[in-house]
Amino acid sequence: MATEKPVTEQYQADAFSRRKDDLLVIHDLHTHFFTPDGVVRALDGVDLRLKKGTTLGLVGESGCGKTVLALSILRLIQDPPGRIVKGSIIFEGTDLLGLDEQEIRKIRGNKISMIFQEPMTSLNPVFTIGAQIAEVILLHQRHRASTKGQAMDMAVEMLKMVGISSPARRINDYPHQLSGGMCQRVMIAMALACRPSLMIADEPTTALDVTTQAQILCLMKDLKDEIDTSILLVTHDLGVVAQSCQEVAVMYTGNVVEYALVEDIFALPLHPYTKGLMRAIPRIGARQEGKTLHAIAGNVPTVRDMPKGCTFHNRCPEVMDICRTEYPPVFRPKADHVVRCWRYVN
């Protein structure tokens, strides 16, 4: 990709001046991985805004860069091989990319907390879950619990909140003694304990059954209502998005290709990729009627076969000539709805 991506003036202005209540503004973020096989442009010019007290759903194909985006915000990208090469992440007015290690550490877990995608590997196997939650509380919530005993009591309270029965006993368990969903809830408890102003939740309910999921989503909503937390909710479950998000960003190969209010994206998805996602939702009993699920043809391109022009063009049912050669800029067919697709050129 030799040509610089055109970014419409309009969108730029939109991203930076219009909304005063933005908590997080990400602009032109590039995070790359330098591997022996070549450079993986995991994030390739991401623009994103998150309002105070809003839940933004981040959806997109596996491998499109959702986790890398989440980790970039917290500056947790492992270097080497990864590096944030360009862009800005303005959080409460400061560019997180300009902070030194000590300053960013103060923000992590305090103002921004994260629920990781793989709870089993994010919990420390040699400490009990109680000790791990208590540690977080002592580290970030000194004013609410100053002794180990108080922190442990709070930990029990937190476990109860996320629906783990017999929390006072469970607190002595090690991660391997818990089920997948229970580990995930421990992670959620730790993130909630920090009462952050931004919570990044990477697939927080993936390992949970629907009833527990409903309960967790409810908890996150309560936190949002109570202390005006903004939530960046990474998920692939469009049902969850419909229920708990106000805004949605759809990602594809390292970029946001559509961004809209939740009602709009369900009522009238614009990007052909988003349309494909909507059609792929399984319906109960459809197999018995002999229907295969609608899947978007082809695969996510890899570094080596990244197509020229729009990176979706070789899978796109609505492809046009220009898509094969020119990377699409951002268009704004209507207020609060942006899309990176040549179909909407005027």
Binding site: F33, T35, D37, V40, V59, E61, S62, G63, Q117, E118, M120, T121, S165, S166, R169, N172, D173, Q177, L178, S179, G180, G181, M182, Q184, E203, T206, A207, L208, D209, V210, T211, T212, Q213, Q215, C218, H236, D237, L238, G239, A242, Q243, V262, F266, L277, M278, A280, I281, P282, R283, I284, G285, A286, R287, Q288, T292, L293, A295, N299, T302, R304
Partner: protein
């Protein structure tokens, strides 16, 4: 119909320890008397709340965990007493895809050797043949073959799950136990993987035990569905029948909590969590007990057993007395 897998009376409990001396202070009854059959070429869905024992049940079926009591018979062989050739036959015949795609891939191995692992364990093919087969399998699950030389950490969660599927298929199993195989995947890849599993089933006459919390996925892929609650199967029926006519109150709670892809439509955040300690000290009656809106006197006294309430539709609930016992 001949059963490929027959599970009878399985029980498994874990000790809970506390304090600095790690004294045993109680037990979790993870699997509490489970009977199940899996037919050839069938998908049996298994759903239930987090922590209800699905993975433990799967592990026992895979002989990774010994039950306290009960038996698992695969293709005529009792898997927990099998030795030598018979055990090898079972081990090859049942493969697994686990819930956590990262934990189940060795970070120090390249994709090619990860996929070849079961072939090495079961001594299948030459090195070159195994490599070719790995390439073929990778394509089968929709990844490109130039990924063979990479390490797991270079892949996203979803990509790793597809590697797991490729690995599971390597030795042509007859039964694939899938523990949340698509919950880490976005809908479009999920659709690809499910279509792939359906295709493989038609082609190779495979059976699946498909564990998932996503009812629409389970409802799509399964022929029959078992609903599990606190270690027990509380309802079992054909997929469509279960959705059309859920009998157990817990099953109804599950159905109500499914988030529909319709903005503004809020699913009921069902409160199905029961008494504080009922997992650890199961009461005498129904495990769903205090969460149940229809609870009546017999429910607190007696544990309901799974019985056929309608043709081919089993439920463990005092509300649904089998027709032949109705006066």
């Amino acid at each position: 119909m001949e059963n490929l897998l027959q599970v009878r009376g399985l029980r498994k409990s874990f000790a809970i320890r506390s304090g600095i001396f790690r004294k045993t202070t109680g037990h979790v009854q993870a699997v509490d008397g489970v009977d199940l059959d899996v037919h050839p070429n069938e998908t049996l869905g298994l759903v239930g709340e987090s922590g209800c024992g699905k993975t433990t049940l799967a592990k026992i079926i895979l002989a990774l965990e010994r039950p306290d009591s009960g038996s698992v018979v695969f293709d005529g062989t009792d898997i927990h007493s099998a030795r030598g050739q018979a055990l090898e036959h079972v081990r090859r015949g049942i493969q697994v895809i686990f819930q956590d795609p990262f934990g189940s891939l060795n970070p120090r191995k390249k994709v090619a050797s990860i996929i070849a692992e079961p072939m090495i364990i079961h001594k299948v093919g030459s090195k070159a043949q195994r490599y070719d087969r790995s390439a073929e399998l990778l394509k089968l699950v929709g990844l490109s073959t130039d990924m063979l030389g990479r390490y797991p950490h270079e892949f996203s969660g979803g990509q790793r799950q597809r590697i797991c599927i490729a690995r599971a298929m390597a030795v042509n199993p007859r039964l694939l136990v899938c523990d949340e195989p698509v919950s880490a995947l976005d809908v479009s890849i999920q659709a690809q993987v499910i279509n792939l599993l359906v295709e493989l089933q038609a082609e190779l006459k495979l059976s699946y035990i498909f564990i998932s919390h996503d009812l629409s996925v389970v409802g799509y892929i399964s022929h029959r569905i078992a609903v599990m609650y606190r270690g027990q199967i509380v309802e079992l029926a054909d997929a469509q029948e279960l959705f059309d006519n859920p009998l157990h109150p817990y099953t109804r709670c599950l159905m109500d909590a499914v988030p529909e892809p319709v903005p503004g439509k809020i699913a009921a955040a069902a409160h199905v969590r029961g008494d504080e300690d009922s997992v650890l000290f199961p009461a005498r009656g129904c495990a769903f007990g205090s969460s149940c809106p229809y609870r009546e006197e017999p429910c607190t006294r007696e544990k309901p057993v799974l019985a056929e309430a309608l043709h081919g539709h089993y439920v463990a609930c005092h509300q649904h007395i089998p027709p032949d016992e109705q006066a």
